[in-house]
């Protein structure tokens, strides 16, 4: 693992709570550490909660935690801290380096950590996660779904199945849209030599000139 070994875990930086200002434009929420949270597994079946339905799939004794707790950092942690914390934990829990007896447990934790990092490293996703936390509807697993609008509850079975399938679609396209937005921020960087990118850069340049 040359890549991970090259950057030794700077665990000290991650663990110390910092009082530094957060990145511009990002709202940071202070949270007491012992606020109870609902517990959901990091993986497994996600039920469509249809605007107020019940949470499912409790798991064995998991202290209610947020992603920040999982990574061992403060909610105001900077992206660097998040990355460093993730690497440290990934190294610790990766199935390849864990002792055989603890492989299953470590794999599970590894995946949780992965998900936490994935959410928190992306600025827009982190922002929506923070908002959800503030509303108190969040949990350890956060899919970035936007809040459901009210929908009717009465369906007979066939329709309900269709609904489930379609809500599965919603999660998937919401992810895709998020990814599209993320991609578009870097799409017109100088390395992109496509005709369209060149035209867009030119248009940007000329409109910047005019301003």
């Amino acid at each position: 693992m040359p890549h991970l070994a090259a950057t030794p875990p700077a665990s000290s930086a991650a663990a110390v709570p910092t009082a530094q200002a957060t990145a511009a434009g990002r709202v940071a929420f202070r949270r007491p550490w012992n606020t109870p949270r609902l517990r959901v597994r990091a993986r497994g079946v996600r039920r469509e909660d249809g605007g107020g339905g019940v949470r499912t799939e409790e798991q064995e004794q998991m202290a209610s935690r947020t992603f920040y707790d999982l990574l061992g950092i403060l909610a105001e942690g900077s992206p660097d801290e998040i990355r460093v914390a993730y690497r440290r934990l990934a190294l610790k829990y990766h199935p390849d380096v864990s002792p055989p007896g603890a492989a299953a447990e470590n794999t599970r934790r590894f995946i949780e950590v992965q998900e936490a990092y994935e959410t928190l490293s992306d600025p827009s996703r982190r922002a929506s996660y923070d908002r959800a936390l503030a509303r108190g509807v969040c949990r350890l697993a956060f899919s970035g779904r936007r809040s459901q609008s009210h929908r009717a509850y009465h369906h007979h079975h066939h329709h309900h199945q269709e609904q489930e399938e379609k809500s599965g679609w919603r999660r998937s396209w919401e992810d895709q849209i998020a990814e599209l937005k993320r991609r578009s921020t870097t799409k017109d960087s100088e390395e992109n030599l496509s005709w369209g990118a060149r035209m867009r850069r030119r248009a940007e340049a000329s409109s910047a000139e005019e301003l």
């Binding site: 993986r43 992965q114 999660r171 849209i177 799409k187 867009r200 248009a203």
Partner: protein, 719 residues
């Protein structure tokens, strides 16, 4: 185009006979309406999407009177939709849907496809700003809601009629129709052109192409996506997936799965769940890859997306389009959310949004019908029953199918190929009779032709049944793969000549010209349904070179048919004389022979008895017949329902080289005029083209110097 549908008909409602003659139709409709208003509230029954087969339905399942459309009444142009809330947009969609149903019930036209895209149309016009934002509709037959929302609602009663709205999008009709369509799979190409043009001009508008999964089976769609991915210009492609690839997506006996491997890939996209576990495992691979974290994330996403979303999305991704979906195409919330998101994101490059819809949605009869009410005649909205006037003869399409079946019964090498038009070409009958000898290749005429050439190489006898105007798409294959190598592929070109309500996009004006100029092709045209049967037999018998025959839309004229539709092969290159006369000879090709016969009877009243001949073959021409006509008559007029460069030109060429024009012969070729004839009723189109029997007779009189009679014939049509 009238297609037979299989659906349950409500029987015996209030003791009204189930079969409704067109005379009584309106009275019955009123009776229905009256009773229905009294008997039940004005809401349609909500039916689940599953099929309920019940022959004892006694109630109508839809409104019989047009319901009020208060919201739609306030919308004349898309700009009026901008301030509506999502709830109001949903109501608008419902009103729009009922509006479409009631309009099409009065005029006939394409219904199912329009119903499937009502929500999509509303969402598109709400989010985007047509006409600055370009919205293109592939094929165009689903554009009825679009037309209603873009200032043409009051003209909907004229849909597909002479001087009325076109059945497809048409640039000359409205600035909201950005691109004329009719043939499929052209919009991604056109949209890319518009996007690149916008980029070159420095514009900022959006370009959206709506294309169906059927149209996606055509190669041009891939050519366009490939180029779009390469150029990386911002544009949106909406893949409207309703699992209807061919027309109809059903045989005579019931639905069949869509043809082609792509459809199964698309449906896998719908059913795959986000496999988050797999994604986590995939991320575990990243540690091997190296590089900075951002690159890692991007690489993993690329890899993971292929694993998450199934093979189909990777196909689009490989072509360079960003895939979003699947999306419920009947959920306006979702559609508006996604479209707004994509619209507000700068620098997206080409994006493909995979939208799942149901053809015929919202009209219970359409949802249940095997053909989803793709193309309907006028019908009664409450019962879904179409008003088809009974005809004494079948359509030429039917006769062709029967004749081909008769040939295939005796010759096991005969196979048939069509391009997603099993209903329109009649080959669904062939499919039922010989399930393994009929090939539907999807909307892929080019492939169909070369595929047939390959079959011919193996000694089979392929009959390619492709509409005259659709065969244009496969023309190079006809020239290079079939004619050049002299492979015996038979082309059955339906919808030759003017086609009525579908208009110039479907008009088969050019096939005589483009087929007869090929050195090895035998080109023939039947003048009636019996001749059609014989020509099918003739084509089956021609085994050393390619051959083709063309026949029009419409029904036969009522001549005696060979027993069991089994024709006898004609002598190649021999025409026939139908009427003997003198001084004037009318040499017709194909269905024009009937106009010639009618013209002859018109001329006879005030002029000489006219000779009428049926050329039968354009290639090889019947030289002896032409020589005898030219030498024994003063006037020779050829008539064909085709463009310049066809039959008349070949006759002219022959006569000129043979010296027949060196004498006193007056020679006039009558062809379709050198312009596109707009959609309308067949009679109106023919009059517009100047090929009616009256026109032909007037031409004769004018040449003979009988100008008064010429004017009289034209002044009193059908005199």
């Amino acid at each position: 185009m009238a297609l037979s549908t299989t659906f349950s008909v409500p029987r015996g409602f209030l003791a009204v006979p189930a079969r409704q003659d067109s005379h009584f139709a309106s009275a019955v409709e009123q009776l229905h309406g009256h009773k229905l208003i009294q008997a039940r509230p004005l809401r349609p029954r909500r039916r689940p999407a599953c099929v309920s087969a019940s022959l004892s339905e006694r109630e109508a399942e839809y409104y019989s009177q047009r319901p009020p459309t208060p919201l739609l009444d306030t919308i004349n142009y898309p700009v009026h939709m901008k301030n509506l809330s999502v709830k109001e947009l949903r109501q608008l969609a419902d009103e729009l849907r009922s509006d479409v149903i009631f309009h099409v019930s009065k005029t006939g036209g394409h219904l199912g496809s329009s119903l499937g895209v009502v929500e999509l149309t509303v969402a598109l016009h709400n989010v985007f700003n047509a006409p600055q934002d370009r919205i293109l509709w592939d094929v165009g037959h689903q554009s009825y809601p679009h037309k209603i929302l873009t200032g043409r609602r009051d003209k909907m009663p004229t849909m597909r009629q002479t001087n009325g709205l076109a059945g497809f999008t048409k640039r000359a009709e409205s600035e909201y129709d950005c691109f004329g369509t009719g043939h499929s799979s052209t919009t991604i190409s056109a949209a890319l052109g518009m996007a690149v043009g916008r980029d070159l001009k420095g514009g900022k508008n959006n370009v959206v192409a709506v294309i169906g999964d059927g149209a996606m089976t055509a190669g041009q769609a891939y050519e366009a996506m490939n180029n779009a991915g390469y150029l990386d210009s911002d544009m949106i492609v909406i893949l409207n997936d309703n699992k209807q690839v061919s027309l109809p997506t059903a045989t005579l006996d019931g639905p069949v799965p869509p043809v082609g491997a792509l459809s199964s890939a698309l449906s896998m996209l719908q059913s795959s769940r986000p496999l988050r576990e797999l994604r986590e495992v995939a991320k575990g691979v990243t540690k091997q890859i190296g590089g900075s974290v951002h690159e890692l994330a991007a690489k993993v996403d690329e890899y993971a997306r292929g694993m998450i979303s199934g093979p189909g999305s990777s196909l689009f991704e490989e072509l360079g389009l960003y895939y979003i979906g699947p999306v419920d195409g009947h959920n306006i919330d979702d559609l508006i959310t996604i479209l707004n998101d994509v619209k507000s994101t700068k620098s997206t490059g080409p994006v493909l949004i995979h939208v799942i819809t149901e053809k015929g949605r919202g009209y219970p009869y359409a949802e249940r019908a095997a053909d989803k009410y793709h193309g309907v005649a006028k019908f009664d909205p409450a019962t879904g029953k179409q008003f088809k006037s009974p005809a004494k003869t079948l359509s030429y399409t039917n006769y062709f199918a029967e004749a081909l079946i008769a040939e295939a019964e005796q010759d096991s090498k005969i196979v048939s190929i069509h391009a997603a038009m099993g209903g329109g070409t009649g080959l669904n009958y062939f499919l039922r009779r010989f399930p393994s000898r009929c090939f539907d290749v999807g909307i892929a005429e080019q492939h169909a032709v070369t595929f047939a050439a390959g079959l011919a190489c193996e000694g089979l006898k392929p009959f390619c049944a492709i509409y005259s105007s659709f065969l244009q798409r496969g023309y190079d294959q006809v020239v290079h793969d079939v004619d050049l190598q002299k492979l015996p592929v038979r082309f059955a070109m339906d919808r030759a000549g003017l086609v009525g309500a579908d208009g110039p996009t479907h008009c088969g004006a050019f096939d005589v010209a483009y087929m007869a100029c090929l050195p090895n092709m035998v080109v023939m045209a039947p003048s009636d349904e019996a001749e059609l049967c014989h020509m099918v037999a003739t084509a089956a018998a021609i085994d050393d070179r390619p051959s083709c025959f063309r026949y029009p839309r419409g029904n036969g004229i009522g001549v005696p048919l060979p027993p069991n539709y089994k024709g006898t092969p004609l002598e190649v290159g021999k025409g026939r004389i139908l009427l003997e006369g003198d001084r004037v000879a009318l040499l017709g090709y194909g269905s024009a022979v009937q106009y010639c016969l009618a013209a002859a009877s018109l001329v006879e009243r005030h002029g000489p008895k006219v000779t009428v001949a049926d050329a039968r073959f354009c290639k090889p021409l019947d030289h002896a017949l032409i020589r005898s006509l030219a030498k024994s008559h003063e006037v020779l007029i050829t008539v064909e329902e085709g463009s310049i460069g066809g039959f008349g030109s070949h006759v002219a060429q022959f006569m000129a080289l043979d010296g027949l024009l060196d004498g006193k012969l007056k020679w006039r070729p009558l062809v379709l005029p050198d312009r596109y004839i707009d959609h309308g009723s067949p009679a109106d189109q023919l009059a517009e083209a100047g090929l009616t029997p009256s026109h032909i007779a007037a031409t004769v009189f004018n040449i003979l110097g009988q100008n008064r009679e010429a004017l009289a014939i034209m002044a009193v049509p059908n005199a």
